[in-house]
Chain length 217, copies 2
DNA sequence: TTTAATATACGTATTTATACTTAGTGATTT
DNA sequence: AAATCACTAAGTATAAATACGTATATTAAA
Protein backbone atom coordinates (compact mmCIF):
# COMPACT_ATOMS: atom_id res chain seq x y z
CA UNK A 1 0.00 0.00 0.00
CA UNK A 2 1.73 3.09 -1.25
CA UNK A 3 1.37 6.52 0.21
CA UNK A 4 -0.86 8.94 -1.65
CA UNK A 5 0.45 12.49 -1.55
CA UNK A 6 -2.22 15.12 -1.41
CA UNK A 7 -2.26 18.86 -1.98
CA UNK A 8 -5.07 20.64 -0.16
CA UNK A 9 -6.46 23.82 -1.72
CA UNK A 10 -9.17 25.73 0.10
CA UNK A 11 -9.45 29.31 1.22
CA UNK A 12 -11.04 28.49 4.57
CA UNK A 13 -8.52 27.46 7.21
CA UNK A 14 -11.17 25.68 9.23
CA UNK A 15 -12.15 23.52 6.32
CA UNK A 16 -8.54 22.66 5.59
CA UNK A 17 -8.02 21.65 9.20
CA UNK A 18 -11.16 19.55 9.13
CA UNK A 19 -10.10 17.80 5.96
CA UNK A 20 -6.70 17.09 7.42
CA UNK A 21 -8.26 15.43 10.44
CA UNK A 22 -10.55 13.39 8.24
CA UNK A 23 -7.79 12.31 5.89
CA UNK A 24 -5.50 11.39 8.77
CA UNK A 25 -7.84 8.55 9.64
CA UNK A 26 -6.57 6.77 6.57
CA UNK A 27 -2.84 6.26 6.97
CA UNK A 28 -2.36 5.88 3.25
CA UNK A 29 -3.03 9.56 2.73
CA UNK A 30 -0.35 12.14 3.31
CA UNK A 31 -0.92 15.85 2.99
CA UNK A 32 2.25 17.28 1.55
CA UNK A 33 1.01 20.78 0.88
CA UNK A 34 -1.65 23.35 1.50
CA UNK A 35 -2.79 26.46 -0.27
CA UNK A 36 -5.48 29.02 0.44
CA UNK A 37 -5.90 30.22 -3.12
CA UNK A 38 -5.10 29.31 -6.70
CA UNK A 39 -1.91 31.31 -6.94
CA UNK A 40 -0.43 29.60 -3.90
CA UNK A 41 -1.48 26.24 -5.25
CA UNK A 42 0.28 26.78 -8.55
CA UNK A 43 3.37 28.05 -6.75
CA UNK A 44 3.47 24.89 -4.71
CA UNK A 45 3.16 22.77 -7.81
CA UNK A 46 6.02 24.60 -9.52
CA UNK A 47 8.34 22.89 -7.07
CA UNK A 48 6.47 19.81 -5.96
CA UNK A 49 4.34 18.65 -8.85
CA UNK A 50 6.43 15.52 -9.37
CA UNK A 51 5.64 14.03 -6.00
CA UNK A 52 2.04 15.20 -5.79
CA UNK A 53 -0.57 12.59 -6.67
CA UNK A 54 -3.88 14.25 -5.96
CA UNK A 55 -5.11 17.79 -5.61
CA UNK A 56 -8.18 18.48 -3.51
CA UNK A 57 -9.47 21.65 -5.01
CA UNK A 58 -12.11 24.06 -3.77
CA UNK A 59 -14.02 25.90 -6.46
CA UNK A 60 -14.82 29.22 -4.88
CA UNK A 61 -11.63 30.95 -3.88
CA UNK A 62 -10.22 34.47 -4.04
CA UNK A 63 -7.42 35.45 -6.43
CA UNK A 64 -7.65 32.52 -8.81
CA UNK A 65 -10.66 30.24 -8.60
CA UNK A 66 -10.86 26.49 -8.96
CA UNK A 67 -11.90 26.57 -12.60
CA UNK A 68 -8.83 28.50 -13.64
CA UNK A 69 -6.52 26.41 -11.49
CA UNK A 70 -7.90 23.19 -12.95
CA UNK A 71 -7.34 24.48 -16.47
CA UNK A 72 -3.71 25.32 -15.82
CA UNK A 73 -3.05 22.09 -13.95
CA UNK A 74 -4.48 20.01 -16.73
CA UNK A 75 -2.13 21.60 -19.23
CA UNK A 76 1.02 21.76 -17.16
CA UNK A 77 0.66 18.63 -15.02
CA UNK A 78 -1.49 16.16 -16.94
CA UNK A 79 -0.59 13.31 -14.59
CA UNK A 80 -1.83 15.08 -11.50
CA UNK A 81 -5.36 14.08 -10.52
CA UNK A 82 -7.74 16.85 -9.55
CA UNK A 83 -10.65 16.21 -7.24
CA UNK A 84 -13.05 19.13 -7.03
CA UNK A 85 -14.46 19.73 -3.59
CA UNK A 86 -17.34 22.05 -3.17
CA UNK A 87 -20.68 22.70 -1.62
CA UNK A 88 -22.19 23.66 -4.95
CA UNK A 89 -24.52 21.10 -6.36
CA UNK A 90 -25.81 23.14 -9.29
CA UNK A 91 -25.59 22.01 -12.84
CA UNK A 92 -23.63 24.99 -14.10
CA UNK A 93 -20.81 24.34 -11.63
CA UNK A 94 -20.69 20.66 -12.35
CA UNK A 95 -20.65 20.87 -16.14
CA UNK A 96 -18.09 23.63 -15.98
CA UNK A 97 -15.78 21.53 -13.85
CA UNK A 98 -16.17 18.58 -16.17
CA UNK A 99 -15.43 20.82 -19.13
CA UNK A 100 -12.35 22.10 -17.41
CA UNK A 101 -11.00 18.60 -17.02
CA UNK A 102 -11.48 17.71 -13.40
CA UNK A 103 -11.20 13.99 -12.64
CA UNK A 104 -13.74 13.86 -9.88
CA UNK A 105 -16.23 15.96 -8.06
CA UNK A 106 -17.39 15.49 -4.47
CA UNK A 107 -19.66 17.56 -2.32
CA UNK A 108 -18.48 18.91 0.99
CA UNK A 109 -21.12 17.01 2.89
CA UNK A 110 -19.58 13.70 1.87
CA UNK A 111 -18.09 11.42 4.50
CA UNK A 112 -14.63 9.88 4.78
CA UNK A 113 -15.61 6.78 2.85
CA UNK A 114 -16.84 8.85 -0.04
CA UNK A 115 -13.69 10.89 -0.06
CA UNK A 116 -11.41 7.85 0.14
CA UNK A 117 -13.12 6.04 -2.66
CA UNK A 118 -13.15 9.21 -4.74
CA UNK A 119 -9.40 9.60 -4.37
CA UNK A 120 -8.72 5.98 -5.13
CA UNK A 121 -11.08 5.95 -8.08
CA UNK A 122 -9.49 8.90 -9.82
CA UNK A 123 -6.00 7.54 -9.16
CA UNK A 124 -7.21 4.47 -10.94
CA UNK A 125 -7.90 6.69 -13.94
CA UNK A 126 -11.63 6.55 -13.64
CA UNK A 127 -13.92 9.53 -13.14
CA UNK A 128 -15.61 9.90 -9.78
CA UNK A 129 -18.80 11.81 -9.16
CA UNK A 130 -20.75 11.60 -5.96
CA UNK A 131 -24.21 10.19 -6.40
CA UNK A 132 -25.93 13.51 -5.79
CA UNK A 133 -23.92 14.99 -8.58
CA UNK A 134 -25.01 12.29 -10.99
CA UNK A 135 -28.61 12.94 -10.11
CA UNK A 136 -28.21 16.61 -10.89
CA UNK A 137 -26.65 15.81 -14.24
CA UNK A 138 -29.46 13.54 -15.28
CA UNK A 139 -31.99 16.05 -14.10
CA UNK A 140 -30.45 18.79 -16.12
CA UNK A 141 -30.54 16.62 -19.20
CA UNK A 142 -34.23 16.09 -18.56
CA UNK A 143 -34.87 19.77 -18.19
CA UNK A 144 -32.97 20.67 -21.30
CA UNK A 145 -35.24 18.31 -23.06
CA UNK A 146 -38.34 19.89 -21.65
CA UNK A 147 -37.21 23.24 -22.98
CA UNK A 148 -37.02 21.68 -26.39
CA UNK A 149 -40.73 20.99 -26.41
CA UNK A 150 -43.20 23.51 -27.67
CA UNK A 151 -40.60 25.30 -29.67
CA UNK A 152 -40.51 26.07 -33.32
CA UNK A 153 -38.48 23.02 -34.22
CA UNK A 154 -41.44 20.73 -33.93
CA UNK A 155 -43.00 22.55 -36.85
CA UNK A 156 -40.24 21.63 -39.25
CA UNK A 157 -41.04 19.15 -41.96
CA UNK A 158 -38.93 16.07 -42.63
CA UNK A 159 -37.47 17.66 -45.73
CA UNK A 160 -36.54 20.76 -43.81
CA UNK A 161 -34.84 18.73 -41.11
CA UNK A 162 -32.93 16.83 -43.75
CA UNK A 163 -31.76 20.03 -45.36
CA UNK A 164 -30.85 21.79 -42.16
CA UNK A 165 -28.71 18.79 -41.32
CA UNK A 166 -26.81 19.05 -44.57
CA UNK A 167 -26.39 22.79 -44.12
CA UNK A 168 -24.85 22.22 -40.71
CA UNK A 169 -22.45 19.77 -42.26
CA UNK A 170 -21.15 22.53 -44.47
CA UNK A 171 -22.84 21.70 -47.74
CA UNK A 172 -23.84 24.67 -49.85
CA UNK A 173 -27.22 24.86 -51.55
CA UNK A 174 -25.95 23.60 -54.90
CA UNK A 175 -24.32 20.58 -53.25
CA UNK A 176 -27.46 19.78 -51.33
CA UNK A 177 -29.43 20.03 -54.56
CA UNK A 178 -27.09 17.51 -56.21
CA UNK A 179 -27.28 15.18 -53.25
CA UNK A 180 -31.07 15.16 -53.10
CA UNK A 181 -31.49 15.43 -56.85
CA UNK A 182 -33.43 18.66 -56.61
CA UNK A 183 -33.05 22.10 -58.08
CA UNK A 184 -30.79 24.57 -56.31
CA UNK A 185 -33.76 26.89 -56.30
CA UNK A 186 -35.76 24.45 -54.25
CA UNK A 187 -33.04 24.29 -51.64
CA UNK A 188 -32.94 28.05 -51.52
CA UNK A 189 -36.65 28.15 -50.85
CA UNK A 190 -36.25 25.62 -48.07
CA UNK A 191 -33.53 27.78 -46.54
CA UNK A 192 -35.81 30.79 -46.65
CA UNK A 193 -38.65 28.88 -45.06
CA UNK A 194 -36.38 27.51 -42.38
CA UNK A 195 -35.07 30.94 -41.47
CA UNK A 196 -38.56 32.34 -41.38
CA UNK A 197 -39.93 29.53 -39.23
CA UNK A 198 -37.10 29.71 -36.75
CA UNK A 199 -36.93 33.49 -36.88
CA UNK A 200 -33.23 33.75 -37.63
CA UNK A 201 -31.41 36.14 -39.92
CA UNK A 202 -28.79 33.99 -41.62
CA UNK A 203 -27.08 30.65 -41.96
CA UNK A 204 -24.87 31.11 -38.93
CA UNK A 205 -27.77 31.74 -36.60
CA UNK A 206 -29.71 28.93 -38.21
CA UNK A 207 -27.01 26.39 -37.52
CA UNK A 208 -26.53 27.78 -34.05
CA UNK A 209 -30.23 27.46 -33.35
CA UNK A 210 -30.64 23.86 -34.40
CA UNK A 211 -27.52 22.72 -32.62
CA UNK A 212 -28.43 24.43 -29.39
CA UNK A 213 -31.93 23.05 -29.52
CA UNK A 214 -30.46 19.61 -29.96
CA UNK A 215 -32.31 18.82 -33.15
CA UNK A 216 -28.96 17.73 -34.47
CA UNK A 217 -26.25 16.20 -32.40
CA UNK B 1 -52.50 2.15 -1.52
CA UNK B 2 -53.95 2.50 -4.96
CA UNK B 3 -53.55 0.03 -7.77
CA UNK B 4 -51.05 0.93 -10.47
CA UNK B 5 -52.17 -0.19 -13.92
CA UNK B 6 -49.37 -1.29 -16.16
CA UNK B 7 -49.07 -1.88 -19.89
CA UNK B 8 -46.31 -4.31 -20.80
CA UNK B 9 -44.63 -3.90 -24.18
CA UNK B 10 -41.94 -6.36 -25.23
CA UNK B 11 -41.56 -8.55 -28.28
CA UNK B 12 -40.27 -11.59 -26.36
CA UNK B 13 -43.03 -13.62 -24.77
CA UNK B 14 -40.66 -15.14 -22.26
CA UNK B 15 -39.58 -11.74 -21.01
CA UNK B 16 -43.16 -10.60 -20.69
CA UNK B 17 -44.01 -13.71 -18.69
CA UNK B 18 -41.01 -13.16 -16.47
CA UNK B 19 -41.93 -9.55 -15.86
CA UNK B 20 -45.46 -10.53 -15.00
CA UNK B 21 -44.22 -12.97 -12.39
CA UNK B 22 -41.90 -10.37 -10.95
CA UNK B 23 -44.53 -7.67 -10.85
CA UNK B 24 -47.08 -10.00 -9.28
CA UNK B 25 -44.97 -10.06 -6.15
CA UNK B 26 -46.11 -6.54 -5.49
CA UNK B 27 -49.88 -6.53 -5.16
CA UNK B 28 -50.08 -2.88 -5.96
CA UNK B 29 -49.18 -3.56 -9.56
CA UNK B 30 -51.76 -4.75 -12.03
CA UNK B 31 -50.95 -5.63 -15.61
CA UNK B 32 -53.90 -4.51 -17.66
CA UNK B 33 -52.43 -5.03 -21.07
CA UNK B 34 -49.67 -6.57 -23.13
CA UNK B 35 -48.23 -5.88 -26.53
CA UNK B 36 -45.47 -7.50 -28.54
CA UNK B 37 -44.72 -4.50 -30.74
CA UNK B 38 -45.27 -0.78 -31.01
CA UNK B 39 -48.33 -0.98 -33.22
CA UNK B 40 -50.13 -3.26 -30.80
CA UNK B 41 -49.17 -1.00 -27.92
CA UNK B 42 -50.65 2.07 -29.59
CA UNK B 43 -53.78 0.14 -30.50
CA UNK B 44 -54.21 -0.81 -26.88
CA UNK B 45 -53.80 2.77 -25.79
CA UNK B 46 -56.40 3.98 -28.27
CA UNK B 47 -58.99 2.31 -26.08
CA UNK B 48 -57.39 2.08 -22.67
CA UNK B 49 -55.12 5.07 -22.27
CA UNK B 50 -57.33 6.64 -19.63
CA UNK B 51 -56.91 3.83 -17.14
CA UNK B 52 -53.26 3.09 -17.91
CA UNK B 53 -50.76 4.58 -15.48
CA UNK B 54 -47.41 3.23 -16.56
CA UNK B 55 -46.02 1.75 -19.75
CA UNK B 56 -43.08 -0.63 -19.51
CA UNK B 57 -41.49 -0.25 -22.89
CA UNK B 58 -38.82 -2.32 -24.57
CA UNK B 59 -36.59 -0.43 -27.01
CA UNK B 60 -35.75 -3.01 -29.61
CA UNK B 61 -38.89 -4.31 -31.20
CA UNK B 62 -40.11 -5.17 -34.68
CA UNK B 63 -42.64 -3.03 -36.59
CA UNK B 64 -42.40 0.10 -34.49
CA UNK B 65 -39.55 0.43 -32.03
CA UNK B 66 -39.51 1.94 -28.56
CA UNK B 67 -38.21 5.32 -29.66
CA UNK B 68 -41.09 5.86 -32.05
CA UNK B 69 -43.65 4.60 -29.59
CA UNK B 70 -42.35 6.92 -26.88
CA UNK B 71 -42.57 9.88 -29.23
CA UNK B 72 -46.19 9.19 -30.09
CA UNK B 73 -47.16 8.45 -26.51
CA UNK B 74 -45.65 11.69 -25.28
CA UNK B 75 -47.72 13.69 -27.72
CA UNK B 76 -51.00 11.84 -27.49
CA UNK B 77 -50.97 10.75 -23.87
CA UNK B 78 -48.83 13.21 -21.91
CA UNK B 79 -50.07 11.91 -18.57
CA UNK B 80 -48.98 8.35 -19.21
CA UNK B 81 -45.61 7.53 -17.68
CA UNK B 82 -43.15 5.63 -19.83
CA UNK B 83 -40.46 3.47 -18.31
CA UNK B 84 -37.93 2.25 -20.83
CA UNK B 85 -36.75 -1.27 -20.24
CA UNK B 86 -33.75 -2.55 -22.09
CA UNK B 87 -30.50 -4.41 -21.96
CA UNK B 88 -28.68 -1.63 -23.78
CA UNK B 89 -26.41 0.38 -21.60
CA UNK B 90 -24.79 2.48 -24.31
CA UNK B 91 -24.80 6.20 -24.34
CA UNK B 92 -26.52 6.60 -27.71
CA UNK B 93 -29.52 4.62 -26.55
CA UNK B 94 -29.78 6.45 -23.30
CA UNK B 95 -29.54 9.96 -24.65
CA UNK B 96 -31.94 9.12 -27.42
CA UNK B 97 -34.51 7.86 -24.96
CA UNK B 98 -34.12 10.95 -22.83
CA UNK B 99 -34.52 13.11 -25.90
CA UNK B 100 -37.64 11.26 -26.84
CA UNK B 101 -39.21 12.04 -23.50
CA UNK B 102 -39.07 8.84 -21.53
CA UNK B 103 -39.63 9.27 -17.80
CA UNK B 104 -37.32 6.55 -16.63
CA UNK B 105 -34.84 4.03 -17.89
CA UNK B 106 -33.99 0.73 -16.27
CA UNK B 107 -31.77 -2.10 -17.39
CA UNK B 108 -33.14 -5.59 -17.76
CA UNK B 109 -30.78 -6.96 -15.17
CA UNK B 110 -32.39 -4.88 -12.45
CA UNK B 111 -34.22 -6.57 -9.61
CA UNK B 112 -37.78 -6.17 -8.36
CA UNK B 113 -36.85 -3.47 -5.91
CA UNK B 114 -35.26 -1.41 -8.65
CA UNK B 115 -38.30 -1.85 -10.85
CA UNK B 116 -40.74 -0.99 -8.08
CA UNK B 117 -38.94 2.13 -7.07
CA UNK B 118 -38.57 3.13 -10.71
CA UNK B 119 -42.29 2.85 -11.27
CA UNK B 120 -43.12 4.73 -8.10
CA UNK B 121 -40.56 7.41 -8.79
CA UNK B 122 -41.84 8.24 -12.24
CA UNK B 123 -45.45 8.21 -11.03
CA UNK B 124 -44.28 10.80 -8.55
CA UNK B 125 -43.25 12.94 -11.53
CA UNK B 126 -39.55 12.50 -10.99
CA UNK B 127 -37.14 10.99 -13.49
CA UNK B 128 -35.68 7.59 -12.70
CA UNK B 129 -32.45 6.22 -14.07
CA UNK B 130 -30.75 3.14 -12.75
CA UNK B 131 -27.35 3.79 -11.27
CA UNK B 132 -25.48 2.11 -14.09
CA UNK B 133 -27.18 4.41 -16.52
CA UNK B 134 -26.09 7.46 -14.59
CA UNK B 135 -22.52 6.23 -14.66
CA UNK B 136 -22.64 5.86 -18.42
CA UNK B 137 -23.97 9.37 -18.82
CA UNK B 138 -21.21 10.89 -16.74
CA UNK B 139 -18.64 8.84 -18.55
CA UNK B 140 -19.83 10.00 -21.90
CA UNK B 141 -19.62 13.60 -20.75
CA UNK B 142 -16.04 12.96 -19.71
CA UNK B 143 -15.18 11.38 -23.02
CA UNK B 144 -16.71 14.16 -25.04
CA UNK B 145 -14.46 16.46 -23.14
CA UNK B 146 -11.39 14.41 -23.86
CA UNK B 147 -12.08 14.70 -27.54
CA UNK B 148 -12.05 18.41 -27.15
CA UNK B 149 -8.41 18.41 -26.12
CA UNK B 150 -5.67 18.56 -28.66
CA UNK B 151 -7.93 19.99 -31.23
CA UNK B 152 -7.55 23.08 -33.31
CA UNK B 153 -9.64 25.24 -31.06
CA UNK B 154 -6.83 25.73 -28.60
CA UNK B 155 -4.94 27.57 -31.31
CA UNK B 156 -7.53 30.28 -31.67
CA UNK B 157 -6.65 33.75 -30.47
CA UNK B 158 -8.87 35.76 -28.15
CA UNK B 159 -9.98 37.99 -31.01
CA UNK B 160 -10.90 34.99 -33.08
CA UNK B 161 -12.94 33.47 -30.28
CA UNK B 162 -14.72 36.77 -29.81
CA UNK B 163 -15.56 36.97 -33.48
CA UNK B 164 -16.65 33.38 -33.83
CA UNK B 165 -19.02 33.98 -30.97
CA UNK B 166 -20.60 36.94 -32.70
CA UNK B 167 -20.85 35.00 -35.95
CA UNK B 168 -22.71 32.23 -34.16
CA UNK B 169 -25.12 34.79 -32.78
CA UNK B 170 -26.03 35.71 -36.33
CA UNK B 171 -24.12 38.94 -36.76
CA UNK B 172 -22.79 39.58 -40.24
CA UNK B 173 -19.27 40.85 -40.82
CA UNK B 174 -20.30 44.48 -41.17
CA UNK B 175 -22.23 44.34 -37.90
CA UNK B 176 -19.31 42.76 -36.10
CA UNK B 177 -17.07 45.46 -37.51
CA UNK B 178 -19.38 48.13 -36.11
CA UNK B 179 -19.60 46.43 -32.77
CA UNK B 180 -15.85 46.07 -32.35
CA UNK B 181 -15.07 49.34 -34.10
CA UNK B 182 -12.97 47.67 -36.76
CA UNK B 183 -13.03 47.57 -40.52
CA UNK B 184 -15.30 45.08 -42.20
CA UNK B 185 -12.21 43.89 -44.04
CA UNK B 186 -10.56 42.97 -40.81
CA UNK B 187 -13.50 40.83 -39.81
CA UNK B 188 -13.36 39.13 -43.17
CA UNK B 189 -9.72 38.29 -42.63
CA UNK B 190 -10.55 36.84 -39.24
CA UNK B 191 -13.26 34.72 -40.80
CA UNK B 192 -10.83 33.41 -43.40
CA UNK B 193 -8.24 32.63 -40.77
CA UNK B 194 -10.82 30.87 -38.61
CA UNK B 195 -11.98 28.71 -41.47
CA UNK B 196 -8.44 27.86 -42.40
CA UNK B 197 -7.44 26.99 -38.85
CA UNK B 198 -10.47 24.83 -38.24
CA UNK B 199 -10.43 23.39 -41.75
CA UNK B 200 -14.00 24.17 -42.61
CA UNK B 201 -15.50 25.34 -45.86
CA UNK B 202 -18.08 27.92 -44.86
CA UNK B 203 -19.93 29.72 -42.11
CA UNK B 204 -22.38 26.91 -41.48
CA UNK B 205 -19.66 24.38 -40.85
CA UNK B 206 -17.74 26.90 -38.79
CA UNK B 207 -20.63 27.48 -36.43
CA UNK B 208 -21.33 23.78 -36.31
CA UNK B 209 -17.74 23.05 -35.43
CA UNK B 210 -17.44 25.47 -32.55
CA UNK B 211 -20.75 24.51 -31.05
CA UNK B 212 -20.04 20.81 -31.22
CA UNK B 213 -16.61 21.29 -29.74
CA UNK B 214 -18.22 23.18 -26.89
CA UNK B 215 -16.16 26.31 -27.30
CA UNK B 216 -19.44 28.14 -27.14
CA UNK B 217 -22.41 26.97 -25.13
C1' DT C 1 -64.74 18.62 -51.07
C1' DT C 2 -62.66 22.80 -50.33
C1' DT C 3 -58.73 24.30 -47.58
C1' DA C 4 -54.21 24.26 -46.02
C1' DA C 5 -49.63 22.66 -46.04
C1' DT C 6 -45.71 20.66 -48.39
C1' DA C 7 -42.48 20.15 -51.88
C1' DT C 8 -41.23 21.48 -56.01
C1' DA C 9 -39.20 25.24 -59.38
C1' DC C 10 -38.00 29.73 -61.91
C1' DG C 11 -36.87 34.94 -62.37
C1' DT C 12 -34.62 39.13 -60.87
C1' DA C 13 -31.94 41.89 -57.83
C1' DT C 14 -29.12 42.88 -53.92
C1' DT C 15 -26.28 41.76 -50.17
C1' DT C 16 -22.80 38.74 -47.99
C1' DA C 17 -19.36 35.66 -48.00
C1' DT C 18 -15.30 33.76 -49.90
C1' DA C 19 -10.72 33.68 -52.49
C1' DC C 20 -6.38 35.54 -53.38
C1' DT C 21 -2.95 39.09 -52.75
C1' DT C 22 -0.39 42.61 -50.32
C1' DA C 23 1.02 45.35 -46.28
C1' DG C 24 1.75 48.19 -41.89
C1' DT C 25 2.17 48.08 -36.72
C1' DG C 26 3.08 46.56 -32.15
C1' DA C 27 4.39 42.83 -29.11
C1' DT C 28 7.04 38.79 -28.16
C1' DT C 29 10.59 35.59 -28.88
C1' DT C 30 15.04 33.96 -30.36
C1' DA D 1 18.69 42.71 -34.38
C1' DA D 2 15.80 39.67 -36.65
C1' DA D 3 12.10 36.76 -36.95
C1' DT D 4 7.47 35.53 -35.67
C1' DC D 5 2.80 36.36 -34.53
C1' DA D 6 -1.59 38.79 -33.76
C1' DC D 7 -4.13 42.37 -35.38
C1' DT D 8 -5.21 45.57 -38.42
C1' DA D 9 -6.67 47.14 -43.44
C1' DA D 10 -7.26 47.45 -48.49
C1' DG D 11 -8.00 45.98 -53.68
C1' DT D 12 -10.17 42.98 -56.87
C1' DA D 13 -13.09 39.32 -58.25
C1' DT D 14 -16.22 35.52 -57.95
C1' DA D 15 -19.47 32.54 -55.55
C1' DA D 16 -23.11 32.06 -52.50
C1' DA D 17 -26.78 33.56 -49.81
C1' DT D 18 -30.77 36.35 -49.15
C1' DA D 19 -35.12 38.92 -50.49
C1' DC D 20 -38.79 39.49 -53.20
C1' DG D 21 -42.57 37.55 -56.33
C1' DT D 22 -44.91 33.76 -58.81
C1' DA D 23 -46.52 29.03 -59.85
C1' DT D 24 -47.89 23.96 -59.82
C1' DA D 25 -48.61 19.13 -58.24
C1' DT D 26 -49.38 16.33 -54.23
C1' DT D 27 -51.02 15.30 -49.97
C1' DA D 28 -53.16 15.97 -45.46
C1' DA D 29 -56.65 17.97 -42.85
C1' DA D 30 -61.11 20.34 -41.94
Amino acid sequence: METINILLVDDHTLIREGLKLILKKNKQFKIIGEASNGVEALEFLEKNAAKTHVMLLDITMPELDGFEVAKVVKKKYPDLKVLALTMHNEESYITKMIDVGVHGYVLKDSNLDDLSSAIKTILDDKPYYSSDVSAVMINSLMNKDKQKDNNAIDNLTEREKEIIHLISDGYKSSEIADKLELSTRTIEVHRRNLMKKLEVKNTAELVSYVLKSKLIS
